[in-house]
Every structure is written in structure tokens, then in C-alpha cells.
């Protein structure tokens, strides 16, 4: 009898688990994260924000007098990793940024063979932060201390040794359509090596970067087509799409047989 009780208990537990699993819907979503809410920062969970259509304006002084000799408009993408909020702040990092224009490419973010493979490995990482404003918890001050590489130039690739800080006031993350800028005046020396003090006459005298509009909910899907000589290979039909009726029927039949046998045994015992 003890064995029978154990078996029944086990079956009961299995059945309960199956029922609970099948009836429980999965609902996992994060807390809200701006806008139009006061004190939204503590609810923000970490993720990587993907800014695909950003624009930057940089001013260059190339003779060492800290006056802008020319400016460049650059466009491209940036990925920003933000941590989950801690207290009323969020730690951020530009994990990759590549902007191009006027024959130059500006890159930022720590070297990574997959995410950011083209930047010099010695360029410092670009960290930032988002800090809730003390007087207005619906807003936050967001900033980045940017280390970058500009290439190619007549002076070789150019790097900054002191970070250029750009900032903006934001009311949500990701901060779409937001312009980060360095307040004037700016005159930041650029070097031809990310570590060595190989000076150049070039200075960065203006820096602003707009995050751009949110991307659409689209994308590109490529399907192989059947044409002669195409890379697609024909296959012999597709997998069966029939539900497992046979397995279920088999299970129920086995249950019926087992119950009948149990009944037969019980009847035999009772009548003997």
C-alpha cells in the first residue's frame, strides 16, 4: 500500500505541475522609463539603445589658434549601453559609434572585435551618466566623456587625450531627437596617437551630436527563390505539420487498458 501511495502522490504532483505550467501565462515586462512621469529614472532597466541615424557637427582648428578653420557634418550610428538605474542615476557607455562625412570617419567606443572592430585598440572607453535633476525629477542631465578617433587626416589618425564632455537635458531613455553638445568655448588638443604625446596643430573647437529619430519597426528580410543556378537547394517536402493526435490517442488507450486491468484485478480480489 505504501508503494501505491507513493505512486499516486508522484502522479498527482506531475499532473499538478503540468496543469500549472499550461495555465500560467508568461508576463515579464520592465518598469516604465519616461516620459511624462516624475521620478522615472529609478524604474529604468538596463539595455543597449541603438541610434541608427545620428548626425554630428564638429569644428576643426588646424593651425593651433583655437579658431574654427572648417566644420564637418557627419552621419552614422551609435550604440549606447545603459545599466539599470541605481538610486537616481544611470551609468552609460558608448559601446560603438561610427560617423562619416567629408572624407573622414569619427569612431568612438572601446575596441571590440565584434561590436567595434575598426577603432584603435588603445582608445579609451567613453563613459557617461544620466542624473535626475534635483529640482525637477521629470528631467535628467545626460552626459558622455567622449574619447574618439578621426581618420584619415593629413596628420595621421587623430585622438584626444582629454575627454570631450557633451551633454543634454533629457526626459526619457532612449533620448530620441536630442542634441548633445559641448558648451563653447572648446579647444581640445588632438594627437596622432591615443596614448603617446605626439602633438599636432589640430584642435577640436566644436562638438555636437543629435541622436535622430526613432527607427521604424521594419527591416529587411531576404528569402531564397527557386531559379536555375540559384544557391537555394530543393528539399523533399517539409516536416509533418500534423498535431500529435496519434501519441495522445495512444496515451489514452494505454490509460484505458491499464484502468480495465486494474478493475479486473479488483473484481477478482473482491469475489475470491
Amino acid at each position: 500500500m505504501r508503494k501505491l501511495s507513493m505512486i499516486l502522490l508522484t502522479v498527482g504532483v506531475i499532473a499538478l505541475v503540468v496543469l500549472i505550467t499550461s495555465l500560467t501565462a508568461n508576463r515579464a515586462w520592465a518598469d516604465p522609463c519616461g516620459p511624462d512621469e516624475e521620478g522615472w529614472i529609478p524604474g529604468c532597466l538596463g539595455q543597449v539603445d541603438d541610434f541608427r541615424d545620428t548626425t554630428a557637427l564638429i569644428g576643426i582648428d588646424q593651425d593651433g589658434d583655437c579658431l574654427e578653420d572648417f566644420s564637418l557634418v557627419l552621419g552614422g550610428s551609435a550604440k549606447v549601453e545603459r545599466q539599470s538605474a541605481s538610486d537616481h542615476t544611470i551609468d552609460t557607455e558608448i559601446v560603438s559609434m561610427e560617423l562619416a562625412g567629408g572624407g573622414l570617419v569619427l569612431r568612438a567606443g572601446k575596441y571590440d572585435p565584434v561590436i567595434n572592430p575598426d577603432i584603435n585598440q588603445n582608445v579609451s572607453p567613453t563613459f557617461g551618466g544620466i542624473v535626475e535633476q534635483a529640482g525637477n525629477p521629470a528631467l535628467a542631465d545626460s552626459f558622455f566623456d567622449v574619447f574618439f578617433e578621426i581618420s584619415p587626416t593629413p596628420f595621421g589618425n587623430l585622438y584626444n587625450h582629454d575627454a570631450v564632455r557633451v551633454g543634454a537635458v533629457i526626459d526619457r531613455v532612449p533620448p530620441w531627437n536630442t542634441t548633445y553638445l559641448h558648451p563653447t568655448p572648446l579647444c581640445l588638443a588632438l594627437y596622432s596617437d591615443p596614448i603617446e604625446d605626439w602633438e599636432t596643430p589640430v584642435n577640436l573647437v566644436q562638438a555636437r551630436h543629435s541622436t535622430g529619430a526613432p527607427p521604424p519597426t521594419g527591416g529587411i528580410v531576404e528569402l531564397l527563390v527557386d531559379s536555375s543556378g540559384s544557391p537555394a537547394r530543393a528539399v523533399q517536402g517539409s516536416g509533418s505539420s500534423a498535431p500529435p493526435y496519434a501519441a495522445i490517442a495512444g496515451g489514452l488507450a494505454a490509460a484505458a487498458v491499464a484502468l480495465a486491468a486494474t478493475g479486473w484485478y479488483a473484481r477478482r480480489r473482491l469475489l475470491s
Binding site: 508522484t10 531564397l224 527557386d226 484505458a256
Partner: protein, 280 residues
């Protein structure tokens, strides 16, 4: 009674006792098997693997966009709206939006399916090059690998184009599996039960191919956008549509028309909300 007869009887009793013990064990095992089989069958029935639920008051929110453009407020508000209208709601976050989820979508008996998913205009690729088309394929959250579902990633005999493709948010992004109209028509299991399908991604009704595939699979209606759309506009419009449809009880065609008029086209990309069959 002779000693020999007594011995014979005790041997017989012993044999009967052993036989009885064996039968009892066998009965216990058989009863156990019966209960396990019944529990498994009940579990499969409840999980929707067979039969599906015939009731029309089930809804699903397939939130593949939660991977790139999460909006927890949308998921919560849509769920609340539907639950207040008597629906039970299954929510699938991006990580759970797989090829198999799409494959089994018709088997659950959903009356309403909200596909908050990226949908990308399709390029048909052959050795001669890529030909852009105006129909969309739906994004999964599952990493693309052409050996995982070879029967559907490559072209099946008699079919012009593959059922699964490689989907990227932008050039150079890691590829995911994309669900083509052929997959909806040929690879999904079961039939939709007059289900209303709302595709919140871009370009869903730039062409009718994808919507028609859902209708051919038994859906009653297909609602989507004529062009590219931002997540924020699509979220706001879909919540308004659900209010009109399930809270106010308007017919779908009226709900779509009123929502389209109220929210207007997407301010950035110009997409307008439409439905199939046209005019309801």
C-alpha cells in the same frame, strides 16, 4: 490430515500468497500508468498542443519589438483592456518569439492576435541578385541559422520562394529568422478561427500578400500599416483600436476607420492604418 497433505496445502497457500503479492504490485503499477497517461493527456489538452481552445475570448500579444523598442506600458495597457473585456491574454516577450511560436499560433484558438513585431520588406535572392518586393515578412527573436530549419529556409519543390528568411533590422545587424507569407500558408499548424490579426510593424499592408496569407489560414481580418511606422505611433494607435474594438464593442471596420482618423498617419513615415478584407 496426513503430514504430506498438510505440507501440500501450505505450499499451495504460499504459492497463492506470492501470486497475490505479484498481482497487487502489477495492479499498483497499472493504476500508476493509467494516472500518468491521463495526466499527460490532460496536460497536453490544457497546453493547447491538441485541439486548441474553441472559445473566442483568448488573445495573444506577440512582443518581438520588446527586444529593440520595449514599451512595458503598451503591454500592460493592452493586457488590461483585453482582460477587462473578458479575454484571457498570453504575452510573449521577444525572447520567446521563435519560429515554433509562429508555427503553432493558429492552434491556441486566439480570437485576437496582436503582433507587435518588426516586419520587413522582402528581397527575393537568387544567384542573379536580389529583387525587392512589396510584401513583408515577420521578424522572430530567434537567431538565423540556415541549418536549423532547412526544409523551410531553402525552397521547397513546387514553391517559388522559401518560407523562412534571414531578417535584419538594418544592414550589418545580426540576422534573425523571418517568417514569409509562404510559412503562414504552408507551415503553420491548424487554422485560425476567424481570428483578428493586428500587425503593428512596418508596411504590413503595403501589399496584400502577407495579410492574405493570414486570411487563407483562417483569420477573419488583418489590420496593419501602409508604410513604415514608428513604434510609438503604432503603440498609441493599437491601444486606441483595442479600446474601440473590445471596450466599446465597435465592428472592426468602424474601429479601424475611427482609429485611423483619430491618430492620423505616422508623423515621421506617413503610414496609415488599414485592414483586410477592405471595407470589413
Amino acid at each position: 490430515m496426513s503430514r504430506r497433505r498438510q505440507k501440500k496445502r501450505s505450499q499451495r497457500d504460499e504459492l497463492r500468497r506470492r501470486k497475490g503479492g505479484g498481482l497487487r504490485k502489477a495492479a499498483a503499477v497499472l493504476l500508476g500508468v493509467a494516472l500518468v497517461c491521463t495526466a499527460l493527456a490532460a496536460g497536453l489538452l490544457f497546453s493547447g498542443l491538441i485541439g486548441g481552445d474553441s472559445g473566442p475570448r483568448r488573445a495573444a500579444i506577440v512582443d518581438q519589438l520588446s527586444l529593440t523598442q520595449p514599451n512595458p506600458d503598451f503591454a500592460e495597457s493592452a493586457t488590461n483592456l483585453l482582460e477587462q473585456a473578458g479575454y484571457t491574454v498570453d504575452y510573449f516577450p521577444g525572447e520567446e518569439v521563435t519560429v515554433e511560436l509562429y508555427r503553432n499560433l493558429p492552434t491556441h484558438g486566439y480570437g485576437l492576435i496582436v503582433l507587435r513585431v518588426h516586419s520587413g520588406l522582402t528581397r527575393e535572392v537568387s544567384e542573379e541578385g536580389a529583387t525587392p518586393r512589396e510584401y513583408v515578412s515577420l521578424f522572430t527573436g530567434e537567431a538565423y541559422n540556415d541549418t536549423k530549419y532547412p526544409d523551410e529556409t531553402f525552397v521547397a519543390p513546387g514553391e517559388p520562394v522559401a518560407r523562412l528568411g534571414s531578417a535584419v533590422y538594418y544592414k550589418g545587424a545580426p540576422p534573425l529568422f523571418g517568417i514569409a507569407p509562404g510559412f503562414i500558408k504552408e507551415s503553420m499548424k491548424g487554422k485560425f478561427d476567424d481570428t483578428t490579426v493586428i500587425l503593428m510593424g512596418c508596411d504590413g499592408l503595403k501589399s496584400h500578400d502577407t495579410g492574405q496569407a493570414f486570411l487563407d489560414r483562417g483569420a477573419g481580418a488583418f489590420v496593419s500599416w501602409t508604410q513604415a511606422v514608428t513604434a510609438s505611433h503604432s503603440d498609441a494607435a493599437t491601444l486606441r483600436l483595442l479600446e474601440k474594438l473590445v471596450s466599446e464593442g465597435l465592428p472592426l471596420a468602424d474601429a479601424v476607420a475611427q482609429t485611423a482618423a483619430e491618430v492620423g498617419p505616422d508623423p515621421l513615415y506617413g503610414a496609415e492604418l488599414r485592414m483586410l478584407p477592405e471595407g470589413g
